[in-house]
């Protein structure tokens, strides 16, 4: 376990010294602060708009950071040959992968914590403050980011970082549309049974990011998800995320297990 933690710690140190992370974080913070200006233009309660924009900023930049980490961190090890230092040490390739993944998870947790802190400060300035519902929304956002991270990591084991990045973004969009795909498949509106089967299959295979989709509107109980936004639901979504992450890491490991590190 100490070896995994050593790799995770080193990964965290590496990502913390990466300027790209700070630039992305800066943009996220600017977008959250920008929600104040937008709030002033709101016709109704500005807090609703601030919550909407704040959560959207955290989700958007969290997703970009997760994809960036997933497609670059392990790839960089292979590209810069630092893997020649790690793999001959007395550890399994699985431990290397888990260490890298844990380090990236820790980076995401820190990033989302920073963004959330700014978000809560803005809300407090408007007298709204933090609430359990918002906390639940942030937990779901973090879980979603971790799933995207595992998907990007798997894709980066198959192809180069740029293509893996685009594919991860495409999967994110498709995953967010999973409910729509399922409804389309079950309604039979396509008029083509093969297409229905394909959409149905895609619904089960692709990550269901719709499960994690949250917006400030949820806090006003006008969510498209209805009223299931309980801790039970958060636990269910996180469980699904954990299962998907396990599958993605397993597939990545299968890919890396016998890969020649030339």
């Amino acid at each position: 376990m100490d070896r995994i933690l050593a790799i995770a710690g080193n990964t965290l140190r590496e990502t913390n010294r990466n300027r790209v992370m700070y630039v992305l974080l800066l943009f996220a913070v600017l977008m959250i602060l920008g929600s104040v200006t937008m709030g002033k233009l709101a016709l109704r309660d500005p807090v609703i708009l601030i919550k909407d924009l704040g959560l959207a900023a955290i989700s958007l930049f969290g997703m970009i950071i997760a994809v960036y980490l997933g497609v670059t961190v392990v790839h960089r090890e292979l590209e810069q040959k630092t893997v020649y230092f790690i793999i001959p040490k007395p550890l399994h390739r699985t431990e290397f992968l888990l260490g890298k993944f844990l380090g990236m998870c820790a980076t995401l947790v820190i990033q989302i914590t920073v963004m959330s802190s700014v978000f809560f400060m803005v809300l407090m300035a408007y007298g709204a403050g933090a609430s359990v519902v918002l906390l639940k929304a942030l937990v779901l956002t973090l879980a979603e980011m971790l799933v995207i991270l595992s998907v990007a990591l798997f894709l980066s084991s198959l192809t180069g970082p740029i293509l893996a990045g685009f594919l991860s973004l495409a999967l994110f969009v498709l995953g967010r549309s999973s409910e729509f795909m399922r409804q389309l498949a079950t309604s039979g509106k396509t008029g083509w049974s093969a297409m229905d089967s394909l959409l149905n299959g895609a619904y089960y295979v692709l990550p269901d990011f719709h499960l994690f989709a949250v917006s400030g509107a949820i806090t006003q109980r006008v969510s498209i998800h209805g009223n299931f936004f309980t801790w039970g639901y958060v636990g269910y979504a996180c469980g699904y995320g954990a299962l998907y992450i396990t599958i993605m890491l397993g597939l990545t490991m299968l890919r890396l297990r016998r890969k020649d590190l030339v």
């Binding site: 100490d2 070896r3 050593a6 790799i7 080193n10 140190r13 590496e14 010294r17 810069q80 040959k81 630092t82 893997v83 020649y84 230092f85 790690i86 793999i87 001959p88 040490k89 007395p90 550890l91 399994h92 016998r258 020649d260 590190l261 030339v262």
Partner: protein
Amino acid sequence: MADKKSKPEAKPEAKPEAVIRATGLCKTFVVGFIPVAKLARRDAREVRPELDQKVLPRQVEAVRQLSFEVRAGEIFGLLGPNGSGKTTTIKMMMGLIFPTAGKIELFGETVPNVAVKRRVGYLPENPTFYDYLRADEFLELSARLCGVDKKIRRARIPRLLERVGLTEALNRPLRKFSKGMLQRIGLAQALIHDPDLVVLDEPLSGLDPLGRKDVRDLISELRSQGKTVIFSSHILSDVEMICDRVGIVVRGELRDIGKLDELLSARVTETEVVLEETPASVMDMAREKGWSALQKGDRLRIRLPGETDPGEILRKALDDGARVVSVVPLTESLEDLFVREARKA
């Protein structure tokens, strides 16, 4: 390839345990997924119409049927020209790449094996490490990965840094290290867990003469501690100085293996006569005989082929007033052997 046998009359000695045993090791790399497209990307000039007929991916045989043993406590040098398969062999040894056929065993276990890795230290060729780490942080990470106890690593890290001459660079990030310093810190990380086997891929490249001497001394010191060392190198003079046995790999095949004195012919290949204040008549005689003669400053170097008697040229030189500086019979050097094997291939 089996080792060359020692003198027949010698009593057979009990062989020490084989630390490394490669048996029929082969490695073939497939170049490109779609061969024509890959070739086109590599070099547009190579794209020729006949390539369209190629349906199988291009293959490169990096290592072919390589078999050898390295015994406990010896220093083994793996020699070969660029692209001969030395690094590929070492990477297979370290579990970085996998053999296409054959197997490689360290301490009797097929690699990769975590228990075996605990006994092995490795310095990669042209090492790249985490450049944002300081020297001490990097060694701390290496020690943790090797499972070295906290107390031991606290004592060992400064000692190793001192041994490789990097004490003053303790707090400097690796990105500010020169190539020679990276090589030294690479050696330190390879030794951090006090391994029984040390595998060094080109440890002498990029080092100045002083640095090379330090590394040579370090390798000799490892032998005196009873450790086994295998290293690849192009610097033949260093190999000659420190290796117990060498293996010469050319185009992925092991061409020769054994102790240096067994591999190198004791026969005199040339006799070198060095003269000073030499009159032109001596030079003329050398040319007439077809011997190589090279005037450099005051000195004339004449090389007589094989075991030609130097008496005739020496008499002529002394009679004509020249001064004899030296007469040296030359035997085959490692460089001669290396060049001979490389040319044969």
